[in-house]
């Protein structure tokens, strides 16, 4: 299928089938590298479904050729999986059994959905940034690492992180959606 990206952007179900057929193995391989424990099988499934659902609904955010599409999916998968990994680690670290909250309550579903949408929107917007800035912004604003943590991960100083974020934000000042996310 030569025009699968255009067809996907028109929500053609055949294009979705093509994308799942061709990229599921790739998406699952990335997810398994990050959420690798057998006990996390449900999490792997959740991540894979989330990635394809996002691609199905927001493929119009993708700008580029077929060769770039694989990388785009790969990056989304990588960061979604890391985000899930971090959430899981936080839960394991901070929730003793007696403090486990009740099943999802109707009152906060909407709030949770809003947060989820905003976060996914942010991921897609950041994916448009140049390579150099992309990972830094994903770490800071999608995964919510502190500047200190980013400095440690990238082996650079905290002030270098701050400078790069500052310069990046200045360059991106014209994007109102991104502005909303980090102010």
């Amino acid at each position: 299928m030569n025009d699968f990206i255009q067809r996907l952007q028109r929500h053609d179900e055949k294009a979705l089938k093509y994308v799942v057929e061709h990229y599921l193995g790739f998406v699952k391989a990335i997810t398994l590298k990050i959420l690798e424990k057998p006990s996390d099988y449900m999490l792997v499934e959740e991540c894979v479904n989330d990635v394809f659902l996002l691609i199905w609904q927001k493929s119009n955010y993708f700008l580029g050729e077929e060769a770039d599409f694989k990388r785009w999916i790969g990056m989304i998968t990588k960061y979604k999986a890391i985000d899930l990994y971090r959430k899981q680690q936080k839960q394991l670290a901070t929730l003793p059994m007696e403090n486990i909250p009740p099943l999802i309550a109707p009152d906060n579903i909407e709030q949770q959905l809003d947060k989820l949408y905003a976060k996914e929107q942010l991921l897609l917007e950041i994916m448009h940034l140049p390579d150099l800035d992309r990972e830094l912004f994903l770490m800071r604003y999608y995964l919510e690492y502190t500047n200190n943590e980013i400095a440690e991960i990238l082996h650079i100083s905290k002030s270098a992180v701050e400078n790069r974020l500052y310069r990046g934000k200045k360059k991106l000042a014209k994007n109102p959606k991104l502005q909303e996310c980090w102010t």
Partner: protein, 191 residues
């Protein structure tokens, strides 16, 4: 942190795809097509009372079912509700201690439509935050469904149901059609 560092340094160009079965691919496609409606913003009460055609298996609205296995009243219904495009038939209501389960059939376009039910009883109890609903697709245009009302009073004599059909276009815009309110009299139908 060291694990996360490794993950962040993962080069996706070096990833070799894993083998996946045909069944697994079909399962993902089915899940995506079913879940898509859940990703839209819906008013809070609507989410709580959601009756989403095709998302019965989704876990987001997964309130624990409290239906008892021992019904105290089993009422066969034949109440029908028509609009220009839609037809609802309420078939049965099963009342157990503290819960009522209403069974119905409806003709909806499985791919683009879902419904919510606005339910109130004769004591003016609104069932917007306690009901569990699920549907089974029979054909692309016909579904059977049920809605479970928790904290249901056994002496309720009537339930008033207003179905709202939500139709979604390709851009995700939703139009709503509020159908007429139908009264289901429980005692008079009891067998």
């Amino acid at each position: 942190m060291s694990k996360e560092k490794n993950f962040l340094q993962l080069d996706i160009d070096d990833i070799t795809p894993v083998e996946v079965s045909k069944n697994e691919k079909q399962k993902v496609i089915k899940t995506i097509l079913q879940k898509q409606f859940l990703r839209k913003k819906i008013r809070k009460w609507t989410i709580a009372s959601i009756l989403a055609i095709g998302v019965g298996s989704a876990s987001l609205v997964n309130f624990p079912s409290m239906a008892s296995i021992l019904p105290i009243k089993d009422v066969t219904l034949s109440e029908k509700l028509f609009s220009k495009q839609h037809e609802f038939i309420f078939n049965r209501i099963l009342i157990s201690e503290n819960t009522a389960t209403i069974y119905f059939s409806c003709n909806l376009d499985f791919a683009t439509e879902f419904i919510t039910l606005d339910i109130v009883d004769n004591f003016e109890n609104y069932y917007y935050d306690t009901s569990e609903t699920s549907t089974n697709k029979i054909t692309d245009n016909y579904s059977n469904g049920k809605v479970i009302l928790n904290n249901f009073q056994a002496n309720t004599s009537s339930i008033f149901i207003t179905p709202i059909v939500h139709t979604m276009d390709k851009e995700g815009n939703v139009t709503k059609e509020r159908l007429e309110t139908i009264e289901i009299k429980i005692d008079s139908n009891e067998k």
